[in-house]
Subunit: 360 residues, 3 copies
């Protein structure tokens, strides 16, 4: 397959759970809820593609898979699956869970700084929110501290990220100044505060050449999916079009065609399918085809969004290789593209576009 052996830059992922997992624990991380997530496209893909990495035949039963997984231990399983991805660079969102990809793979790890995580830590360290948000001077100080903390963290990072989709939705207001009054909360949900925070991230990102990743599309049950529609970012994208910022739309499904439109309309916008790929399994080829209808070839990146289970990192890579490989084989057979152009396209999507966007 044309995509075999091409090294990947996984521009958005997380660490893996450093513990052995029972079946409910494994299924909880694989799907939503502790039972039954093997009965799904991602479950079929684990049995088909991960089993051989653990020396098992393809399509092995879930319990046999988990028995073998326990036998090898999480460290060996993680090392095998992560290395089998063929990823040479991992850009890790450290705002959630552990970061152990460097030690398990020997690959290069770079950090993505999550805006909300940094801001919430500054607020937590500044005293109780109830006191804090009553006092306008204290509030101003905290806002300054948040920006300072972000600038500090950004110096070592390769990119920034916002999960504003989970908090107030992607139609946050574009505000230059932080709000004078906000509801006290350790968890940022105020849309004006979030709008300001994303604005600060956009400003720092433009200054330092750090792309700003934005969660869009599906995720877990905390989300109102309609508020994660990337089209809600249109005003933000217009406002940042000439600032030098690069915006990365993550995941995008089932709005991947809309996201592709945004990358077509705005040259500073890029996208990936991230989390989508492990979950849609064998349908990766079809979802990639829909995305490639409009996305400029320079504007599509690879990520796994792997979190917790190294199976997700591996499926991200394996299914991306299978899906893109199958699609391009068809395109070559139907004389849509030449073999040479297809190879160039694969390299761009696998790591070239990330190298250019993240300036590495």
């Amino acid at each position: 397959m044309l995509t075999d052996g091409v090294p990947l830059t996984d521009h958005h992922c997380h660490g893996v759970v450093a513990a052995d997992l029972d079946r409910p624990g494994f299924e909880e991380l694989l799907g939503e809820g502790p039972r039954g997530s093997f009965d799904s496209s991602v479950g079929l893909a684990v049995r088909r593609w991960c089993a051989p990495i653990l020396d098992l035949p393809p399509h092995v039963a879930p319990d046999e898979y988990l028995t073998r997984r326990a036998e090898l231990g999480w460290r060996e399983v993680s090392a095998r699956l992560l290395r089998a991805t063929g990823t040479t660079r991992w850009f890790v969102d450290s705002g959630y869970g552990t970061d152990n990809l460097a030690e398990l793979t020997g690959g290069t790890v770079r950090e993505i700084v999550r805006l909300e995580h940094v801001a919430e830590r500054v607020i937590a360290e500044s005293g109780t929110p109830a006191t804090l948000f009553d006092d306008i001077d204290a509030l101003t100080t905290v806002f300054d501290q948040i920006e300072a903390a972000l600038r500090d963290r950004a110096r070592y990072a390769v990119g920034l990220k916002t999960i504003v989709a989970y908090r107030c939705g992607l139609d946050f207001p574009l505000v230059d100044a932080p709000p004078a009054a906000v509801l006290p909360s350790r968890r940022l949900t105020d849309k004006h505060l979030l709008g300001w925070l994303v604005g600060v991230g956009a400003r720092i990102g433009a200054e330092l050449g750090l792309p700003l990743q934005v969660h869009t599309g599906f995720g877990d049950a905390d989300l109102r999916l309609q508020r994660a529609d990337p089209l809600l970012l249109t005003d933000f994208l217009r406002a940042t079009a000439q600032t030098g910022l690069t915006v990365m739309l993550l995941h995008c499904w089932p709005f991947h065609r809309k996201a592709a439109y945004l990358t077509h309309a705005f040259p500073h916008v890029r996208m990936d399918l991230g989390l989508t790929i492990p979950y849609v399994g064998h349908r990766t080829s079809a979802v990639l085809a829909e995305t490639l209808e409009l996305v400029p070839f320079r504007s599509l990146l690879y990520s796994s969004d792997g979190y917790g289970l190294p199976e997700l990192h591996y499926l991200g890579a394996r299914l991306w290789r299978n899906g893109l490989g199958k699609l391009l084989d068809e395109w070559i057979a139907e004389d849509v593209i030449t073999g040479a152009d297809a190879e160039q396209l694969i390299t761009a999507l696998a790591n070239g576009n990330a190298e250019r966007a993240y300036q590495i």
Copy 2:
């Protein structure tokens, strides 16, 4: 084909018209409007798949089809088409049209109670709405009568159903108490009243173990399709997640990927493609493939939503068998799934998931 011979539980359908139909009458029921609905995917499917059941060659011209249909008479045509579906259980929404599936097929028929239908009948029997809605005591009595009537009907039913999508849209408010004042109308359109009614249905459903079916996605021209987007139910689904209620999203197209996300995020939510399948015809395989990207395999059910024309019941079944069979043949050929797992999946979708959800 793997799907041949598998008995179906049609968990959402209606009776057929007990009369012979001329061409305008037939086309009116097949599409929207009295002319031309043969020139469409569903029209091609009638000619291709229903014609042989009436002893005609495939692809026969519409007029020949209707001549033969008249010759056999509606009763014989209905019995042939309905029996050819291979359906052993019919769950009938009796709120609309006649219910004659038991006499025509000999299959088991169970009732789905439509909330709006019961409520509107209680209101109609309580005097003129204008008087009624002026008198707060009378109104309270009517609300009590509506709940009592629903409880009474629910005792013999296998499920409940709401068509709130047609009335105020799926973003109805979540209200515990009925409103103190509503506009007088025999046809319920007040969103607070509807929100209360759906809440009562959800409560009764949770208590008695009756799934609540919700019309989502496309239907006839009475609909504002954007208000039938199942994502508008997110708050309702959160509110009912821990109550024991099962929610069934019906039809879903063109929002079937969003519906699949909801079934992935909420274990108490199920979906079907219902009405979609007869209408998209040969595209059933593609729409099923999009749905199976994310829907847990336990959360997808079969229905035809057949109404009026037994052709719709038959196409629901025939195209579902063709489409799912074709899809799974491809998956087996591409080593996505084993033959044994594919057979289990078919049984689950055909009737197993309905048996578990409806506790039969």
Copy 3:
């Protein structure tokens, strides 16, 4: 291929640039922005399909393509590409750019009158907007002049068109009378004024039998794509359903399934894929298949929306032939449709539906 040689009616397009173009100029018109638009589906399609029309091998490099293009000169290139479309009738939206298709092709050219263009010219000729919009009598006079100008232009036209999607979105208010006060502007953006203008267009169209084209779905970066969702037209379509007006939804992607629903629900609504086809390239077959799930076969038309580059006109035609031909070959092979019915369908989509809708 079944679609070869069928003459096309291009019911929505524009003229071509009457000048030779350098690479930035060419890429600007091909995509959004002056660099890199060759690296996309439409870029691959130019190299694959347009190159041979200029005596080059398929898949030639962009610079070679542009060198040959310059060598032949814009007039020869345009004549070759436009003639190679097999289009016999061009309906040209003259509100934007030059109209030179008649002289370049010898085909029949008819005019589509753009409502906003006429209205803005009348306003510009009536004095400064600031003065005008302060004086209620002057304003009334201008509204009368706009309607008179539209009626005058309509006498020679084959259809009307609105780009209200670009101005205030498709959820414009339905208003019978023009507003008493509007913000002064040479560019119409006031939603009440636009609502009135579209209403005038709908009235004139119904009276004179001129279809009203409505831009929906993707376009350039001026657009808020979510405001171009054709479902936002639902109230307008209900209001015009019985007036005799025909409404043409243009382009529609990525809302083509929703547009197909509208054509299914409302017999007076038609749609095309227009601009979509050159841009999605080899995916035309897939997008057509999604559209044909629900669109009545009488309600789908052909257009290229070609603008500026004759490559877009040619790709519109070539990819439509390829995509529809491939799809129908598959349908015939899978016994979905007979060869005779497929040929009828092609003729309807290529020109028959346009002939009927535009009464030519």
